[in-house]
Each structure stands twice: as structure tokens, then as C-alpha cells.
Symmetry: C2
Subunit: 166 residues, 2 copies
Amino acid sequence: MGVAMKRRPSSEVTAAWIRLMRIRSRVLDAVELELKKAGFPPLAWYDALLELSRAPSGEMRPVELERQMLIPQYSTSRLIERLVDEGLAARRECKIDKRGQFVEITEAGRELQKKMWSAYSAAIEKHVGSKLSDADAVRLCGLLDRLVCSCDEAQAPVARDGAPTR
Amino acid sequence: MGVAMKRRPSSEVTAAWIRLMRIRSRVLDAVELELKKAGFPPLAWYDALLELSRAPSGEMRPVELERQMLIPQYSTSRLIERLVDEGLAARRECKIDKRGQFVEITEAGRELQKKMWSAYSAAIEKHVGSKLSDADAVRLCGLLDRLVCSCDEAQAPVARDGAPTR
DNA sequence: TCAAGATTGATGCAGCTGCATTTATTGGGC
DNA sequence: GCCCAATAAATGCAGCTGCATCAATCTTGA
């Protein structure tokens, strides 16, 4: 293979890129604004609480959470710190590996997750669902999924009682 | 109309939402990483330089730039400050309105914009163009555009020698 | 067994963002 | 002309992010 990629993107591709950047911002801003107006914490908290609530006994290793959420290690560390400070999660000792720990969601954490999902899902319906038929949503998914093929080995099948964000 | 939206998003819509959030992050991260590895400043700088370079005589009012880029006022103010510090733009007095000013792109700024577009467009082609046919890109645009109808009155027709990001 | 390297999680620092406020100037109504 | 609201831009502060690094512990291999 040569050193440089000389092909330039077509105007169609460039337009798609611009839309992807712009529209995601608009929609996310709109959704986050609604959650904020309702007095809820940032979406990242929701994502973490959702992951924890789905874990077998409501607890996970930080490393595991980090891999699920696809965010950097220090970011996970500080997110957990905030959740613990707010009483939404608690640290548990990890007996099998003394470097590590377990993080367990609290009852308050589970309640917040559910309340947030109520507002969050309403916002998704308002800003996405009401503008796209299910068939179009499927098409959009398909097109977007093609953009990550052969690069990541993502996971996240679907959501039952909540949707992870990032 | 009633107070609350009771409809919940379908699983198709939720899946589309998740993809939109996730995949945009992946693709943007990949593109930004390439620019960073090539030693370029953040994409926001590119966007500003592109806007300035397209303006009639290479100069704009900060307010105008703000409206074009759809970023908050303070953000524009500080972005301009950094561009000026780096010699990529210069402040000009605004005689007709002494509250305001003009910001003019410098020759160095124009050169940087062009060099960045070279790397940037290669990255778009690599991470988007190579994975989507032009027809699919058009379909993706169409689906995304529906998400902002009746809310924003966006602009940005197409790009000739560069693509704005946000 | 023990040293070298890998892994887990925390943290100091610099830079960026949002929010609120401040300063300067303009324009409109009376 | 004068006062007051609106607009243009800057900035202090708090919080968040990324980067680099650290300390503690685990694992591996000679």
C-alpha cells in the first residue's frame, strides 16, 4: 500500500459528515437540556447507573465499567467518585484482587436511574421518535453501523429499560 | 396540549439514538486523532478559519462568526483570542460600531486552513467515504436532516474546499 | 524466589467549557 | 437631550477533561 490516501471525499460524503456532526450536537443538546431543566445530573451518570443496575448483583469492577462505557480510565475513576459522593453507588472491597474494588449501585441509584429514564425516554421520543418512522430508524441504524465496521468491535445489542448514551 | 408526553420511544428509535451518539463519537475521535497526530490544532480552529477565509474580505464580526458556528458567545471570544495569539487572525477596529470589532484571517491562517483541509479531508474519506457509497451518504443526510426540521433553521449548504464541523 | 513488567485505580496540572457578570456602546421612546 | 433596555465583547470562577504520572498489587519467567 502507498503511504498517502490521495482520494478526497465526494461532496455527498462531506455533506453526510457535516450532518453527522451537526445534528448529533443539536439533538443531544436538546435532550440534555430537558434533563437539566428537570433537575437531573448529566447523562454520563445515567449511563453508569444503567450499567451498574444491569450487572449481576448490581456491582462491577471499575475496569469493567470503563470497558462497557468506552470512556478513559481517569474518567471512570472520577465518575465513580461523584456517584459515591452523592450516595448513588458504594465502594466494596475486592478480596480477590487487592488493587481493585467493586462498585455497587445503591437503592437511591436505582431509583434515580429509573426516574431519569422516564425523562430521558420522553426526550428521545420527542426529538427522535416523533420525527422518524420505525422503518427509517432501522435504516438510519444500518447506515450508521457501517461507519464502524472493521475498526471497533463494539457491543451493546439493544436496550430493554434504558439506553446507554455514548 | 397536555402537560406530559406519555409515548415512549420504540426499540428501533432507541437503537437509532444509541447509534447516533456512539458512532459520531467513534468517527469524530478517529478523525481528530489523525489531525492531532499530524500536529494540527483542534477542529474548532479549522472551522473558524474556514468561516473567516470564506468571508468577503477575510474578515467578520465576532457576532457573525458566532452565528455561523453556532457556538456560545464566550466560546467565540476565547477562540478568537487563541487565533490572534497564534498569529492566525488579527483584530481590526470597527468604525461603525465601537462596541464591536472585525477579525481578519492572516496569510498564516489561510495556509493553516488549507493544510488542515488536506489532512481533514483525507480523514473524512478514510473514516466515512470509504465505508459509504455516495447514494448511501445521500440517504444518511436525508435521514439526519429530518431530525432537525421544525426546531432549528440551520444553514450550511455544502462545502467547496472545506467542511465545517459542528 | 525474585526482579521486571503489566494492571488497577487515583491524582496533580493545564486547558477548556458553561454560567454569570461586567464594561462599553448603541438605539429607541418620551 | 436623557434615560433605559438591548447588544457586543470580555472575564472571573467553578467544574470537567485529557495527559502524564504515581502507588499498590499482581503475574510472569528465568
